[in-house]
């Protein structure tokens, strides 16, 4: 019997039991929809976060922080503490000189002194992280990308009182209300807890530049909520030559260069520092998301399993109802294999229709969820997500349906249907014609 004829015979059998086939298909639809929705939402979320990070990260930079641990010590030093990783080791401002001399692949480096301060003008006061950086070096690393003035100017050789602020501190809501402006004087207040008695240190700076909007999370690089002061000022004002991190600019972003330089720096400091590349950060985030996705998909897969059992159940009922028909087919000379294929064909049709509808439903669901999440974001096309993360309010999640998910969902839907149909189909094929014909 020709494959086409087998398939059309399967289809005619399904058409006869529309309601039953429909309900069976619904099980597959729900399972696949859950999987597709969860995958495309988490993929969209990952893209959003990754994009935001990539905006703040340059791929040709490394971040050196004190302490052996990875990733979690990125913000060491907040709260005026010495010591990053527990061993008492600290990075010093002049460690940049050591790092710069390590390899021709290193183009430069910048040390960052970081403190939480009160940042206030006559109207407002915020607690904010202030970063003391060498403006010239910092601009050399991030100048082409994120350390760019929207208004005012960033002097490469700044006076001590110059302050550069992130865009959010200037214009957080895009509605005309401005917080801090270029030319404005601001008080920067730091509580020196090591002095006896503890006392507040204050100096008055002048905002000389507002950065253009970056729109991402900050990881080492400039951020929308950052305040930047010259490193010399930070050093004398905070009374420290300890820095929380050193950003290293590489000649290129090859993985080999990243690996070599990372190892050089780690060895130079006898393993007391962690060197993180942006690609490593991204891959950590990627693997975290993989675990989350696997977990969610696992849960969704349970519903598909239930659907599979439903298929099996319905196929066994159908097999019993059609015992006589199978007898007739066999008496007409149909091979056992063909009977098997007819039953499997029915499950393929159910799986295919269920998977296609499930993908459509899941995709719709993902978009609805995304809109709810981001409070009215635009619908996006398949493979979209390029503009994710430039919004200012909330998380703009753009669900992503990758070809892998698409094909995977289709395959999974059909696969589950077929696997659960194997037993009923096998039983049908094994029926003896004489007994099947006698069946009432």
């Amino acid at each position: 019997m020709k494959a086409k004829d087998v398939f059309s015979y399967s289809f005619s059998a399904i058409k006869l039991r529309k309601l039953r086939a429909g309900l069976t298909t619904l099980g597959v639809v729900i399972g696949i929809a859950a999987i597709v929705a969860l995958l495309s939402i988490t993929q969209g979320l990952q893209n959003t976060i990754t994009n935001q990070l990539e905006t703040g990260l340059a791929t040709d930079t490394l971040i050196v922080t004190p302490g052996r641990s990875v990733f979690s010590q990125g913000g060491a030093g907040i709260g005026g503490g010495f010591g990053g990783g527990g061993s008492g080791f600290t990075l010093l401002l002049n460690d940049t000189a050591t790092i710069n001399g390590l390899s021709p692949d290193i183009e430069g480096s910048v040390a960052i002194i970081q403190r939480a301060v009160y940042f206030q003008n006559s109207e407002r006061s915020f607690i904010i992280n202030v970063l003391g950086v060498d403006f010239a070096e910092y601009e050399a690393i991030y100048g082409g990308n994120t350390f760019v003035a929207e208004s005012g100017t960033i002097n490469s050789n700044p006076a001590n009182d110059e302050v550069v602020i992130g865009n959010t501190l200037h214009n957080p809501w895009n509605n005309g209300t401005l917080l801090y402006n270029v030319g404005e004087n601001v008080d920067i207040i730091w509580t020196n807890a090591t002095a006896r008695p503890p006392k507040n240190e204050t100096y008055t700076g002048t905002v000389t530049a507002v950065l253009k909007e970056i729109g991402g999370f900050s990881f080492g690089g400039p951020s929308d909520t950052g305040v930047y002061i010259p490193s010399a000022q930070a050093e004398s004002f905070f009374g420290t030559d300890t820095c929380s991190q050193i950003i290293v600019k590489l000649a290129n972003s090859d993985q080999a260069t990243i690996d070599n330089v990372s190892e050089l720096i780690t060895n130079t400091f006898d393993g007391e520092v962690s060197v993180i590349s942006s690609t490593a950060v991204l891959s950590i985030i990627g693997s975290v998301f993989s675990v989350i996705q696997l977990f969610l998909v696992g849960i969704a897969a349970i519903s598909l399993l239930v659907a599979g059992i439903g298929i099996m159940n319905i196929m066994i009922v159908s097999l019993i109802e059609r015992t006589r028909e199978i007898g007739i087919l066999k008496a007409l000379g149909m091979k056992s294999r063909t009977v098997l294929l007819i039953f499997l064909g029915e499950s393929v049709i159910i799986g295919l229709i269920g998977a296609v509808l499930g993908i459509v439903l899941g995709w719709g669901l993902a978009n609805v969820v995304a809109v709810v999440f981001s409070g009215g974001g635009p619908f996006a096309g398949i493979g979209g997500g390029q503009d994710a993360g430039v919004g200012t309010a909330g998380l703009d999640i753009v669900p992503v349906l990758t070809p892998t998910v698409l094909i995977g969902a289709l395959g999974f839907g059909i696969g589950v249907s077929v696997i659960f149909a194997l037993y009923p189909a096998w039983r049908a094929s094994k029926l003896k014609p004489v007994e099947a014909l006698r069946y009432e």
Binding site: E325, L329, A331, G333, K432, V434
Partner: protein
């Protein structure tokens, strides 16, 4: 004439629950091409069992059954399926597929044999015309009378140009007038197209119209007469 069925000491034992039932207890039979054979006997005499064996629907317990010179007990499941395509089976309860119309029922037999769509359609319509159902081609079994359904079943059985036609009580479920019409059709097929026919019946009148009558009782053949004369 070529011999197409030869049974030698054919035995078949069923298990009815745990009790063995000897349905055939040593049947010897030869059927030649062009024959029109009626097998008569009371129910339980083994005539349907014999027919099922000849139709390759079942395998004998012992003895030899040659169909077209091939010993069926040596055949695999797949080979038995192939053999069934060369046998036309007509059942007492028609056994048409209810959701398919007359033409599709006839086509099914052809499609199992792998005949292409266009040829199937043409052949199915020709066959339905032969059995006198040209104007009922698109009717489903439920829309046809018993006699008409049996004609569809005959058309289906003839679809693959079988070596012979096996009919199990073909008129058992239809009125006597229609039964005579069916019998006329069967005789016509035998006489004009040379189709070999083996028919099981318990209707003496019908059996008398055959060229040869085989009487069965209790799993064995008790008489075998041609045109009323003993062989």
């Amino acid at each position: 004439m070529a011999q197409i069925v030869e049974a030698v000491d054919l035995k078949k034992t069923y298990m009815l629950g745990k009790i063995p039932v000897e349905a055939l207890r040593g049947v010897n039979l030869k059927v030649e091409s062009g024959d029109l054979l009626a097998i008569l006997g009371p129910s339980g005499s083994g005539k349907s069992t014999l027919l099922n064996l000849i139709g390759a629907l079942d395998k004998p317990t012992s003895g030899t059954l040659l169909i077209d010179g091939v010993d069926v007990s040596t055949l695999s499941d797949n080979q038995l399926s192939d053999l069934r395509r060369r046998v036309g089976f007509v059942f007492q309860f028609f056994n048409l597929i209810p959701r398919l119309n007359a033409r599709d029922n006839v086509e099914l037999s052809l499609s199992i044999a792998g005949v292409s769509k266009a040829e199937r359609k043409k052949r199915a319509e020709e066959l339905l015309e032969t059995v006198g159902l040209k104007d009922r081609i698109n009717h489903k079994p439920a829309e046809l009378s018993g006699g008409q359904q049996q004609r569809v079943a005959i058309a289906r059985a003839l679809a693959n140009n079988p070596r012979f036609l096996l009919m199990d009580e073909p008129t058992g479920n239809i009125d006597s007038k229609t039964a005579r019409e069916i019998m006329r059709l069967v005789k016509g097929l035998n006489a004009e197209k040379g189709v070999t026919i083996i028919m099981v019946t318990h209707d003496q009148h019908l059996a008398r119209e055959a060229k040869r009558t085989v009487q069965m009782f209790d799993g064995v053949i008790t008489s075998d007469v041609a045109n009323g004369e003993p062989t």
